[in-house]
Symmetry: none
DNA sequence: ATCTAAAATGTAGCTTAACTACATAAAAAT
DNA sequence: ATTTTTATGTAGTTAAGCTACATTTTAGAT
């Protein structure tokens, strides 16, 4: 199944592409409709690159090939508007109401644009892995640690064995005890966090399944995983320090959890009601 | 240039098609998404017709060929994104794509509706309190603990003394040492969390300032605080267990932080750049 | 019923487009 | 300066879409 927001993917991913791939991406952005009935050879010629480069660009954007790229572009070609406006970084003299709008908009956009990156097949596979898992290890550091804790908390509510590990030593030592019945959910915005990579490698060696949740780019963690999930960066604001990616990651985690819970709907509802009762008014 | 309403064309034109072409058209109507990555040979097989028939069907619908048919179907297959219609709680038999939409919509709405609850004066006052604070204590348990940690992390990046305390003992013992130069940020969705109330009472006795971040209701924590902030509940889904309130709270925390940082813009930017550098590629 | 003409459908082979594997060139790291 | 890694291109393979023609089916006329 192809994905449905090709242009969104291109715009989001363009900065992570190789130079010549970027040439292609820019050409597509500027000639969106023309692409649709252009053979790959022609596009290669027009962008002074090669067919192979175009295919590689597709892969970098996590799209199977040129055919699928076209389909996904076609799907987004007539529903533009929402996604085109880009917010600049916050100004030095921003008023409070500007800040409120800016931050809220950013957070809200990060959910919206993450939606475009969701591949239902991967999501399905991830949920099924989690469901079958004896034990789930969630690893993340820094901002991602928060997301890891969140998932752990949720799992506890439905009586699923899940441990959030947020410092590198604990991660490593726990990874040693994993086996093929276990699943690792590796959360890293950059996908290049050394601690996470090391832990994932060990887990992999022990035959545990790996689910990655990273930014939308080709990255190390993603390449090591069995299933890849992405949360939109939109991390425009170096200055704000407000990590919108974290909101997007939480959104994904919510989906994973809800999907997981719905596989055993009756029991989950029961568990959730019980746990809710216990923490009532707290 | 392909057209953008493939399904529409098929539905409108189906009655004028030859019998075997109609078989194909019906199949497409019933398996729209599957068509997109199905080769023409497979479709011919599935419909017990031939490749030539499919091509002829395309021509009958005034579409150049099978390639273009797919593009036009793709363009019309995805007319639904995050829609505005109200979502009820999630059903037992919800499909994955329903779950994805439901959760994303919920999270995104929680930001939107929290925006309506923001009182700029209170926000201004809260930011100013935080700015003047010698030390900030952030308290929360359960889902709110995550928000507390998030704020702590952010403060560390701009070198602001801030401690997130998420278990009741630590909260109580730390509250004892507060004085009038300190600020407590109390996060509780219900506003009735006993541990939080107790801690806030002690902090108040010690003349620390209290900022509450609770659901939008009259509640104990709020009544004890100097400044009240609210995060929209929208906790429609007892069952989902997905706490949208948490996203709304994070949004408020982002605003607080950005407001705080912008009061000392130059220095904050400098600090943020430095801390960002240090954690580069992690 | 039988034959003929027209319409509908299928088969097989051709053409073109997409993709793969390998080779070369450029850039980084040692 | 040398090796290793990364980026890009070339040429050949595979597979998909399409065309031309053959066959079958249908309908109307005798």
């Amino acid at each position: 199944m192809p994905m449905f927001n090709g242009m969104e993917r291109i715009k989001q991913g363009i900065s992570t592409l190789r130079p010549s791939e970027q040439k292609v991406a820019n050409y597509i952005i500027n000639n969106t409709k023309a692409i649709l009935d252009m053979p790959i050879a022609q596009l290669a010629k027009n962008t002074k690159t090669s067919e192979a480069t175009i295919i590689r660009m597709c892969r970098s954007l996590h799209i199977k090939g040129f055919r699928e790229l076209k389909l996904s572009i076609s799907a987004s070609a007539n529903q533009d508007g929402i996604t085109t406006d880009r917010y600049e970084d916050i100004a030095a003299d921003a008023s409070l109401s500007q800040i409120i709008k800016f931050i809220s908009h950013n957070n809200y956009r990060s959910i919206e644009s993450t939606l475009a990156l969701i591949d239902e097949n991967s999501m399905e596979k991830a949920i099924s892995l989690l469901d079958q898992a004896r034990k789930i290890i969630v690893i993340g550091v820094g901002a991602s640690a928060i997301v890891a804790f969140d998932f752990e908390q949720k799992c506890k509510r439905i009586n699923k064995w899940c441990e959030a590990l947020t410092d590198s030593h604990t991660q490593l030592t726990s990874a040693v005890h994993l086996d093929d019945r276990d699943v690792v959910l590796a959360i890293s915005y950059s996908g290049e966090t050394i601690e996470i990579i090391d832990t994932v490698k060990i887990a992999k060696r022990n035959k545990a399944s790996i689910i990655s949740l990273t930014g939308y780019s080709s990255n190390k963690v993603q390449s090591l995983a069995n299933v890849n999930l992405y949360a939109s960066p939109l991390e425009k604001s170096i200055r704000s320090g407000a990590t919108a990616s974290r909101i997007a990651q939480l959104n994904i985690v919510d989906i994973l959890f809800t999907g997981l819970a719905s596989l055993n709907f009756e029991q989950s509802v029961d568990f959730l009601d019980k746990t809710r009762e216990v923490i009532q008014n707290r």
